[in-house]
Symmetry: C2
Subunit: 382 residues, 2 copies
Amino acid sequence: MNRGFPVAEFEARVARVQAMMADHDLSAIMVTTHPDFYYFTGFLTRFWASPARPWFVIIPQSGKPVAVIPGIGAALMRTTWVEDIRTWAAPDLQDDGVTLLADTLREIAGKGRVGIPDGHESILRMPVADFERLKNLADMPSIVSDEQIVRKARIIKSEAEIAKIQTSCDIAGRAFDRVHEFAQAGVALETVFRKFQMACLDEGADWVPYLAGGFGPEGYSDVISPATDTPLQKGDCLMLDTGLVHDGYFCDYDRNFSIGPPPQIVADAHKKIIEATAAGFEAAKPGARACDLYHAMDKVLTGGEGRNDNGRLGHGLGIDLTEWPSFIAMDETVLEPGMVLTLEPGVETRDGNMLVHEENIVITETGARYLSTPQGEEIRIV
Amino acid sequence: MNRGFPVAEFEARVARVQAMMADHDLSAIMVTTHPDFYYFTGFLTRFWASPARPWFVIIPQSGKPVAVIPGIGAALMRTTWVEDIRTWAAPDLQDDGVTLLADTLREIAGKGRVGIPDGHESILRMPVADFERLKNLADMPSIVSDEQIVRKARIIKSEAEIAKIQTSCDIAGRAFDRVHEFAQAGVALETVFRKFQMACLDEGADWVPYLAGGFGPEGYSDVISPATDTPLQKGDCLMLDTGLVHDGYFCDYDRNFSIGPPPQIVADAHKKIIEATAAGFEAAKPGARACDLYHAMDKVLTGGEGRNDNGRLGHGLGIDLTEWPSFIAMDETVLEPGMVLTLEPGVETRDGNMLVHEENIVITETGARYLSTPQGEEIRIV
């Protein structure tokens, strides 16, 4: 399968960021996390699972990104379009890259301003003590907010990125179609989780970073708990929600299944969340705001009461399982073509139990297009 | 299978930390990451894959931890031993938990000092702008280093923790024994990766957060690159290195395989890394320092030259794929019973190619014990 991106794609990403940097008088932007590394350089590895080493990429006002990374990453970074790769022998208990990073920032940004992602959903992946030390070294550029530039760049996906998310969605779709092979009454949820992950891999996932789910006779009371050895029973509603990855891009959607014919309350709830998803899809077009989609879905779900314990009815999607924006009442992000989003309405059945549905879409010039094959209003029966 | 821990285990962990807090005049410790959450509360979820929401647990000078978390986590947190659970409707674009967190810190720590993990291998998982805002609110306790208290607590594993890591090691061992089923000449590395992850799940892994590997006729030039569609060839040396998880605890070890009989240079290199592992194991006992194990292995590998591009010859292991300490020349951490460690020597074959071997061990009262079944000096042939 088609992996990676042409250099022109990275050039376009960096150029877009550099234009925004000029508007905000930033001499450089520094990023430290896996998604930002992959976005700007193409550096893709599962080694981020190890918290032992900090990693830095600096985007100057003009020219290519500069990597300041542990020596163990040099060989892989040399396969990307990045040419200026500076390494240290990490871990170094006295100076874990801080001096090398400071020298590089001084060289690139002089006495200017270096932006870092510092807003909602961002993480600075370096020890706090090292960050404090860095800021207080002599003759350093000042380290300031990136004014959400990185978020603004990543939120609009290229055709090549959308194609990768489409591939992930297709893989998950084939895996969901195989759930009947292993989800039956008497089978423990942890076994279902295991077999579903195997199905995702078998259908082409590179890996399965995220799987959540739940089950119960009238839905489930929680959507983030790990699987236990409790077996499914006839009449249960089972939900599986996966974030699987192909070439570094996630899908993130779920399917509900009834173990045998569903009780009426579950069948009705399922129709309701499909209806809410359709309302969100209908509202999804350039110029609409994230809160407009929230209200469109919430109107179906609660009649417009805005009750929503889990906080949102969908979100962005891409290199991260969840990205900006959020479908909540206070998010006024304006939708633009190229945004990849999840519609994720949930409805309470009874006594704190619920059903949650999720689809993945992309905003087009005229509206939206499904990346996941949308589920019909009838719940799947296994 | 046996999941979770008895409450007494969490009480002991918190008591150990509280004793160290008293020594350092800390009124509270605040943690923000998955491993620290699981360690102190038992809160285990894959939802950490979403960067959207910050999470906080505060350990007071006495009593149970207090959780300040997004509403979506309340149901799961209520299943743990934590009783004081404070939630907000996250994401909140105006105030994503900061006010609730500040109120809680003031209540628990008064005008005292709140420690956060801030040293090597630590990450503060909250937006930098929110952290700055938090520190500058009125009447706040001061936020300072936790003096590595959390690291010092987590580095010594209980019998129950060691049992979980043993389970993960056993699962990986069974998966490594099945590599011959799918790793043959003509099969692409990405297919091998996929099938190996499926084997890990089939043998009992909850999930497979980490898989790395490489192959080539005289070893591999890199150990963190993703798999490509390049097929294995007869005579290649293939390495697979997995961090799979059972009930929140990792194993982290690898095996090398020769596709058909190995060339002499590979057979010799394999003997060398097994010999180095044995030297590390021999040196591993209470009172030895991390650097002593480094030198014991390095003496076999390079005759004591200390060349080591990848930076270390092993590390700690537990809830994280890699934990403190590092087997490097500058790490003087003294080994104690209950530390779970990886021995991970590598040797160059030719032209930048290498073989790397890894085993998992636990320090006992009298020496060390293998958690992975140690590989013999002959490379496995498939």
